[in-house]
Amino acid sequence: MELTMNYGVNEQGYYGDFGGAYIPEMLYPNVEELRQQYLSIINDADFKKEFDQLLKDYVGRPSPLFYAKRYSERYGANIFFKREDLNHTGSHKINNAIGQILLAQRLGKKRIIAETGAGQHGVATATVCALKGIECVVYMGEVDIARQAPNVSRMKMLGAKVVPATSGSRTLKDATNEAMRDWISNPVDTHYIIGSVVGPYPYPDMVAKFQSVISFEAKKQLKEQTGKDLPDYVMACVGGGSNAMGMFYHFLDDESVKLIAVEAAGKGVDTGHSAATTFLGREGVLHGSRTLLMQTDDGQVVEPYSISAGLDYPGIGPQHAHLYKVNRAEYVSITDDEALEAGLLCSKLEGIIPAIETAHALAQLEKMKFKPTDNVVICISGRGDKDLDTYIKYFGF
């Protein structure tokens, strides 16, 4: 299904005022090659067949839509969890990694690079590279390497080389800079698997399409379980915004569905330690696209903060910036404390330990006013195994 032009991308790669491809000339041939080929490749029957097969047999899709009974009682609505945490490698990131590795193979690329924040995208990329026997280099901020140690080990075990990003805030933004520098220096044989709906066109659209399987399945599953065509609310957390875009995609043109995107407020949006881009950001250019980003008056990118490495990013995908500007989705924010409490609550009420990223979306439920008949789908984007240290430290288990 293609999106209407209200919310989809135009030929120049723009969503309203946002998007485009603000890249140095050194990256132009790579990005242009992708732009010219991505649609014909991903719409090709062989590609679709292999993609769907791997999602089914390797990732374990469809991921369940789980009616969360105790959550439903607590919040006075029908709450459904879209269980991306049950995917192979533990999050939604694998959907995009599978799509892009198949694309890279068809482009004849011999080497894969990726950036990672929490490590989920790095693990997903290392996994698909192992599956396909392709060399893999993952850039990761030094700070994130320290706070997401299990994922670093997983990537190494999968055969990837993990390269620390030591500049700036030494988190996701800096890992992305390093990956872009690598790509500039290796333009012919290397494909850059960007992990979110960010970067120069066609990445935001390509990643959104690979992740759209989330809402494609959820729509069908909801119909089977409730008889209703559409939910009343769809909710997800947003860093760059890939799980949210996947969760929103097939509902974007269904205007009755309320879309709620939850950003990381960190220690609070006014504390100077936050990653709530729509609250704190202004229009500008980051990592190849015109979007909303946190920056000083002088146009320097502000170093973000969130306890969740996956949301610790100063920008947001251009499609999200557009949905925000035209009020198609509501953007809210949740603090570190609220998220951690929600992670604990979900563990105790539903027996699911969520990633701290996901816990931001769950925490927003506390602030919502639902009708008893409302159907609410929330994306459980990842599992919390990687965050146990943080949970343990916070709660003192």
Binding site: Q12, G20, A21, Y22, I23, P24, E25, M26, Y28, P29, S167, G168, K173, N177, M180, R181, I184, S185, P187, V188, R282, E283, G284, V285, L286, H287, G288, L293, Q295, D297, D298, G299, Q300, V301
Partner: protein
């Protein structure tokens, strides 16, 4: 006709341009460094304004940008420093930096200020042709600022022609596809690219940049183009004590064979 066009009219080869980052190693050094470079024999200059996320730059220029920002360099500060540029420097000067600070400053405001202080051109590596033509070409033209585009070994012939068409001072040839500060390794492929560009007989002069660090790479670049730009090697010098006094020696070492 601006200073850049005048320069290319009068001097056709072995043009040497030097890049340095404004605000590094300290604030209020921009004009004295520029003046020293002119006196030492540089033909034109690129003054970088720092950005927090310079994806096309290697560690040396990244570090200079970060230090400049820590020193308090802003676009307002830069334009303040450049007010005395034209009383001390007569060679062409370009500003080089990433698009986001310009967008925040306001593209028109930025161009107006640049022209007022006597800047001749802009190099914005992450401003693509499509966006430049659609949004900004009119503003650049209004303020008579040249926009410099880059060409890499991977740039198609068709696109090089388009870039040549859009350019009105010179075309910036990247010596190889790389970030700044990587030493140029000459291979047959690169010499092939140099020759291919030369054979295209572009209407604009061509200047090589990235990887030009010493006399031998400068000389090689000048065999195929009208000149070359030295950046990282000079930024390294600015980290040394008494760097102003060392500038003549540095320029001489790039320009002449015999210098040891």
């Amino acid at each position: 006709m601006n200073r850049l066009n005048n320069l290319f009219e009068t001097k056709k080869n072995k043009l040497l341009s030097i890049y340095f980052t404004a605000g590094y190693p300290a604030l209020n050094t921009t004009v004295e460094i520029a003046a020293a470079l002119e006196k030492a024999g540089a033909d034109f200059l690129e003054i970088g304004f720092p950005y927090s996320d310079p994806v096309a730059d290697g560690p040396i220029i990244q570090n200079s940008s970060q230090r400049a920002l820590e020193n308090g360099m802003t676009l307002n500060q830069l334009f303040e420093e450049l007010k005395e540029l034209r009383s001390k420097v007569s060679i062409p000067v370009m500003l080089m930096g990433y698009v986001n600070p310009i967008v925040q400053y306001g593209v028109e405001n930025f161009c107006k200020k640049a022209t007022e202080v006597g800047v001749d051109g802009l190099i914005v590596p992450d401003l693509p042709i499509y966006e430049y033509e659609k949004l900004y070409a009119g503003i650049f033209k209004k303020y008579e600022l040249s926009n410099i585009f880059m060409v890499t070994p991977q740039t198609s012939t068709e696109r090089i022609r388009k870039i040549d068409e859009l350019s009105n001072s010179f075309v910036y040839l990247l010596s190889s596809s790389t970030i700044t500060g990587v030493n140029l390794k000459l291979s047959d492929a690169i010499e092939g690219y140099y020759q291919r560009i030369k054979d295209m007989n572009l209407k604009n002069p061509t200047i090589f940049g990235f990887g030009i660090t010493n006399h031998s790479s400068f000389k090689k670049a000048c065999e195929y183009a009208n000149g070359a730009i030295v950046g990282t090697a000079f930024v390294k010098l600015l980290n040394e004590d008494n760097y102003l006094e060392k500038i003549p020696e540095f320029i001489k070492s790039i320009k002449t064979d015999s210098f040891k």
